[in-house]
């Protein structure tokens, strides 16, 4: 599910190569919504921490009152107060 065309617009406007978009893309909207493209499944979910797999590793999102606004095969949106995003 492609909610925003933001990434493709960005790629087009800044003339970015396709090689830059091989793994995952994260957009943080005002620290209240995190939009992720290219996840490979959930590892852990709670109201404070959501961990999910990416192609070569995992991403840990920390915050408050977190929940998955959308969870589909390739994309997910996390809503809540986002404090920290760590890539391992």
């Amino acid at each position: 599910m492609n909610i925003f065309n933001y990434l493709s617009e960005l790629k087009k406007d800044l003339h970015l190569p396709d090689t830059m978009f091989t793994s995952y893309n994260i957009i943080n909207i005002s620290g209240n919504l995190l939009y992720i493209e290219g996840h490979n499944g959930l590892i852990s979910i709670s109201t404070e921490t959501i961990i999910f797999k990416i192609k070569k590793g995992k991403i840990e999102v920390k915050g408050k009152n977190l929940f998955l606004k959308i969870l589909s095969e390739n994309t997910l949106a996390i809503q809540g107060k986002i404090y920290k995003i760590e890539v391992f």
Binding site: L42, I45, T47, F67, L68, I70
Partner: protein, 379 residues
């Protein structure tokens, strides 16, 4: 998402991440996934995915705490479960159907001389009225029909506004100078009595008489037209101040020999008793009178269960006698009666000029009396 059909599910079970990853791989989209505790979660799915989710929940030993429909699904469900709303919708739909497809009111505007009822009657005869289908009414055709059938209409427009048919009429303006020769509208001044013109002052129209002219009842005194400078005949209201001598007459016929009938006082009464039109009892008596009159009365018996009717026919004997009334003996009474009858025909402002009478012997015993009062009257 607001108008999508969604189902909210609350589940209880372990290893939920594995379960949701499995659903993702099966192409199931999950919305508003909240983990309330380690083993309890709430999430929403599209209605179309419920079978897949349910199957996987069962196979992974998850317990469904509750399941409820939300979004469009919930809205439809709520409406269908409410009889009042459904009934209201049906009535509204029926009303909408009627108001969109039928004429419920006909408004006629701009008519002054033609009454609205006349037009409505005409429309009814042409099968146009309340509850007529809008499709059956062709506005242009209706305008043409109205113009063709009403001479008084100069312009007409027919429009449909909602469920109302509006007929806007502009009537023809006819003035005294109109070229129209409509004789029905302008009427001549016609004499109602015999008489003689004393003087006449024409206001409008054409004179047919002059001072001193004699006229009979039915003669035209003033025509309702005039000729203009180009000798064109033009209709106009006939009007004049006419002062005339009028002869007001009363005719009376006196018969010197008259046949008068009288009752002798003898009578025979025959009674019949019937039940529901079937005669139960017939009284039989011979009618011995040569001339008689009959009167019949019917009485329905009250306080009796059966509808019994008693009819009574009374035969009254009549005899005739010849009476001779000589005219000379009754002359004064007859003339007085004739005078009274003639005076009753006079108007308030009439001035009586003279009174006279003629006696004409038609045959030996029939005498005609003509009583004439000459009055001066302003017509």
């Amino acid at each position: 998402m607001k108008f999508q059909s969604l189902i909210e599910i609350k589940i209880e079970g372990l290893n939920q991440e594995k379960f949701f990853n499995k659903l993702n791989n099966l192409g199931v989209e999950i919305f508003d996934f909240k983990r309330l505790s380690y083993s309890i979660s709430i999430f929403k799915i599209l209605t179309k995915d419920i079978k897949i989710v349910k199957k996987n929940l069962d196979s992974n030993n998850f317990k469904i705490i509750y399941k409820k429909k939300i979004g469009l699904n919930k809205f439809i469900n709520k409406i269908l479960s409410s009889v009042g709303i459904v009934l209201g919708l049906l009535i509204f739909s029926a009303f909408l159907f009627i108001s969109n497809n039928f004429i419920l009111r006909i408004d006629i505007i701009g008519n002054q001389n033609i009454s609205s009822n006349t037009i409505l009657e005409f429309l009814n005869n042409n099968k146009i009225g309340c509850f007529s289908s809008k499709n059956s009414i062709n506005n242009e055709n209706l305008e043409k029909i109205l113009l063709a059938n009403f001479n008084e209409i100069s312009m007409v427009s027919v429009i449909e506004k909602g469920s109302t048919l509006i007929i806007n009429i502009k009537e023809k303006i006819e003035t005294a100078n109109s070229d129209s020769l409509d004789n029905n509208k302008y009427k001549n001044i016609v004499a109602e009595y015999n008489g003689r013109i004393k003087n006449i002052e024409l206001i409008s129209g054409t004179l047919n008489v002059k001072p001193g002219s004699l006229f009979k009842k039915g003669d035209v005194l003033v025509f309702a037209y005039y000729y203009d400078s180009l000798n064109n005949k033009k209709c106009i209201e006939a009007s004049a101040k006419i002062n005339a001598e009028i002869w007001i007459e009363t005719q009376y016929t006196h018969y010197e020999n008259q046949i008068e009938k009288y009752y002798t006082g003898n009578e025979i009464t025959i009674k019949n008793i019937s039940l529901c039109g079937v005669n139960l009892f017939n009284q039989e008596k011979d009618i011995i009178y040569k001339n008689y009159e009959t009167t019949q009365t019917q009485t329905k018996l009250k306080n009796v269960l059966l509808p019994i009717t008693i009819s009574t026919i009374t035969y009254k004997e009549i005899k005739t006698k010849k009476i001779t009334k000589m005219f000379q003996d009754y002359k004064e009474d007859i003339l007085k009666k004739c005078q009274e009858n003639t005076l009753q025909k006079l108007l308030k402002n009439d001035i009586i000029l003279s009174e006279n009478y003629n006696i004409i012997n038609q045959t030996n015993d029939i005498i005609n009396i003509q009583y004439v009062i000459t009055v001066e009257r302003v017509l």
